[in-house]
Symmetry: C2
């Protein structure tokens, strides 16, 4: 098997002793070069083949693609021309889409761009979009929104790198199951209805033109496979990038995006589950604060002695709100200083003049009005904190459940990958302090950033990843999170700070301020 | 492997314990029913799948097709509906096209139609069409002519059988390499130029819509593979039908159409060659007389004692000309009565008042003007006879060469299949008499009619034939007829009646009329 999608081959010249047909000659030459089955080119390419081969004097550059586990031929170019052959890796997020342009002959990145998923105009969350997809024209509209946006932004990215969108021969797209469905124009209505059935688990490879995307006319789009409705291709790409499936040591990968997905395993086995585990976890593991952006608080610390609050905002602008990582920091600091008790309740007597009570509800002033970017006090309420506590408890419970399912103590982990943009900004010490993640040596935690984009990139760089992707897909046992009594007991225990059983968090020792 | 392209399957109902995706569920159910790999449905079908499966309560009728050696799914229908699922077998002749409509669920024939290949308007012979295909728009024009005609006639055939063309889900097309290329819109220019290279040897399966044919929107068209430029899919279909590849006994199959193709072999090996073997055989083995039609002489006998000529015409109309089988009969009879000598020359002294000499050239009156359908004498000239002699010598030489190549005497054959419409009408005794075919027991000769259509039909009736087709394709060693000195010696010897070596034709004993 070859390590490149682009192959230069020199065909034996036809003769009376070797008068095999053009297509068969090309297939044979490719087969002996790259190994594996090569399928007959599509009609359009067949029609051009005699001219292409002869004009190129039988020295051609072939662009390959995946065709149901075999090699397909997307394009045949004259080897001498050294035309640009570009690929596009796509992280298809519910909120944000990131694309990366690559040279397929060398695998190097040529540029990157990101943009809001235009389906946000229909609804910011997955559920609204799925319902909208069920209306007349709704599905087609959602499909076209994202297809057009990818095409348009890819075009701009190509132009800025000195190329054209028609130089793109392959895209690899990693997204969650719902986003993948909407991208392909598949109705995701059954994804959210018991028993949660996607249309397809292994979408495979499509003509870009069939998806209404204008790259090269024969360009292909590979869509990462998913397992269930809640374990999507973005996770497959993440596992591919983290390399869980190649390691002897058992590791865990947690992707906290719109949903929380977890996979535990090693090169021999993998077990996965996802956070949307029924009504008890409503609100999910990831609904914390606002989205990161300029002026949003992303780090908070309170000096142990001076009690001085040190608030950091993105781009150092006057604060306008708080995002997930800031909220986790804040909760951890409040807990360390006794301003939040073990039940996660604000302790008014410890908070001094930062407490406001409105409609019988406690609020805590995070930023005074004269320091805020909005001109008003920035506060968080007990409701916000309760929501955070449920989220962190859900996360911890999921982690505990998945490791327990293989008889492994959570603290036995030595490698903990944190994927996703959100995960990249979480301070693991704070997350440990509130009992969101287990009390491991901080060195065990490794943030891997946009692992979905990285995984998609790896595939563009090396077709051998395909085998790995399907190997990952087939190695994973998906565990439907069964919200039973045991789960609820764990969840209840995890709703304390850091946990009802402090022995699980030996490193968490709140300051004994009196 | 299944014996039908149409499969009724009942899928296990989705549940929380079995929440695999719709497409994967269908694929699994099909796999366990029919064996072999089933590929992911196309995007259009994927998009309809959730509705189709649920409306049909997971009991569906799947129409399958061949997809590069695996099973593809053309359509998913509600099992209860018992919709018509039709197939079309196509014998794609250079001159005549024959189509047969079949019920794919039972394999039974529903009707048949034939029509002139509309490309005749461009040129009656292959060569003219190939040159025309090389002009601007020429190829597309030829492709559309035949695609439109097949679509139109299939539509009419469906309507007359009480169906619609949209009920056709599969066609199988067997034609020679050039006709196949023109049908697919592939430029056949290199087929006729040394070293004679087709565009493709294994065209495989196409969407009917991609070939501009309106059947069911997901209908597929399978095109029989060819070996070289001169051994086409029509022959593969013929071998499939005759069953050469399944027999222990070595047999020969001869298809005399526009070209003369020969295959010799058994279940262990096959060797093939075709008649267009260079300038020495110019005129080919099959350019005899006019095409069969009303009033055309197809049988001739001369009574051994009364010397009465008994002339039979098609539809018993007044004679207007003579076709190949009539010409062979005539030559045999003339030779038996000494009117033609061993060199194939008219013997004026034995022909009485039937001889006319024009421009130093002997003509023989076959039908007197008062008996003819044209009002004029029907004659054949020495030139016509010379042409027949060359043709028969070419045929015999090819047969001798192919058997000699495996060290087998021509008279060692025990089974001799004669395929093609033309072959069906040849009287083997006459063909033996002039030394066109070997002097075997007449029982060895078996005409198999339109074996190309029959082979195409077999595939519609039973997908297991596919394996056989590719087995045939790969078992055949194609022998380029090398027009060397030995070939020319054989050819010269075969230009006598029946042969320079009468011992090869012990059954041929001209009447000793004085």
């Amino acid at each position: 098997m070859t390590d490149l999608w682009v192959q230069d081959v020199e065909l034996p010249l036809p003769s009376l002793k070797d008068n095999t047909a053009d297509a068969d000659r090309l297939i044979q030459a490719l087969r002996s070069r790259i190994g594996g089955d090569v399928v007959t080119p599509e009609l359009n390419l067949l029609r051009q083949l005699p001219g292409l081969l002869r004009n190129a004097h039988y020295r051609v550059r072939c662009v390959l693609h995946e065709d149901q586990g075999r090699w397909g031929i997307s394009a045949v170019l004259p080897a001498e021309d050294r035309c640009a052959v570009l690929g596009l890796a796509v992280d298809l997020g519910t909120t944000r889409v990131v694309i990366r342009l690559l040279d397929m002959t060398r695998g190097e990145a040529l540029g990157e761009a990101s943009f809001d998923n235009p389906q946000i105009a229909v609804g910011p969350d997955i559920l609204t979009r799925i319902h909208y997809a069920d209306t007349a024209e709704g599905l087609d509209h959602l499909h076209r929104l994202i297809a057009d946006a990818i095409g348009r932004h890819a075009d701009a990215l190509c132009v800025s790198a000195g190329y054209a969108a028609s130089d793109i021969y392959m895209a690899s797209v990693a997204g969650n199951t719902a986003m993948t469905h909407l991208f392909l124009g598949l109705n995701p209505r059954w994804i959210i209805r018991e028993p949660y059935i996607p249309v397809v688990n292994r979408p495979g490879t499509f003509l870009a033109s069939a998806l209404d995307i204008r790259f090269h006319s024969s360009a292909r789009v590979f869509v990462f496979p998913n397992i269930g409705s809640y374990f999507g291709g973005d996770l497959m790409a993440g596992i591919l990038y983290a390399g869980l499936h190649r390691q002897e040591e058992t590791a865990i990968l947690v992707d906290v995006g719109t949903n929380a997905e977890v996979v535990l395993g090693n090169r021999d086995w993998m077990i996965a589950c996802a956070g949307a585990a029924g009504p008890a976890l409503e609100g999910g593991a990831a609904r914390m604060g606002m989205m990161a952006g300029p002026g949003v608080i992303d780090r908070v610390s309170i000096h142990p002695e001076t009690l001085q609050w040190d608030i950091h905002t993105i781009e150092d602008l006057p604060p306008v709100g708080i995002c997930g990582s800031g909220l986790i920091d804040l909760a951890a600091q409040l807990f360390m200083h006794g301003m939040l008790d073990v039940r996660g309740k604000l302790a008014p007597d410890r908070c001094g003049d930062r407490i406001r009570v409105k409609d019988d509800l406690c609020h805590l002033v995070v930023v005074a009005s004269h320091l805020s970017g909005t001109g008003e006090e920035l506060t968080i309420s007990q409701v916000d904190i309760d929501s955070l506590i449920r989220s962190k408890a859900a996360m911890y419970t999921i982690l505990e459940t998945i490791t327990a399912s293989v008889g492994m103590p959570l603290r036995g982990l030595t490698r903990f990958y944190v994927a996703g943009t959100f995960g990249a900004f979480i301070n693991p010490v704070s997350a440990i302090t509130i009992g969101m993640i287990p009390d491991l040596d901080v060195k065990c935690y490794q943030t891997i950033g946009n692992s979905s984009l990285e995984g998609a990139t790896r595939l563009i760089q090396d077709p051998r990843r395909l085998t790995e992707i399907y190997h990952i897909r087939d190695s994973i046992t998906y565990m439907e999170l069964n919200v039973n009594q045991e789960f609820m007991n764990r969840f209840s225990a995890a709703k304390f700070l850091p946990h009802t059983e402090p022995a699980l968090f030996p490193s968490v020792n709140p300051y004994r301020t009196s």
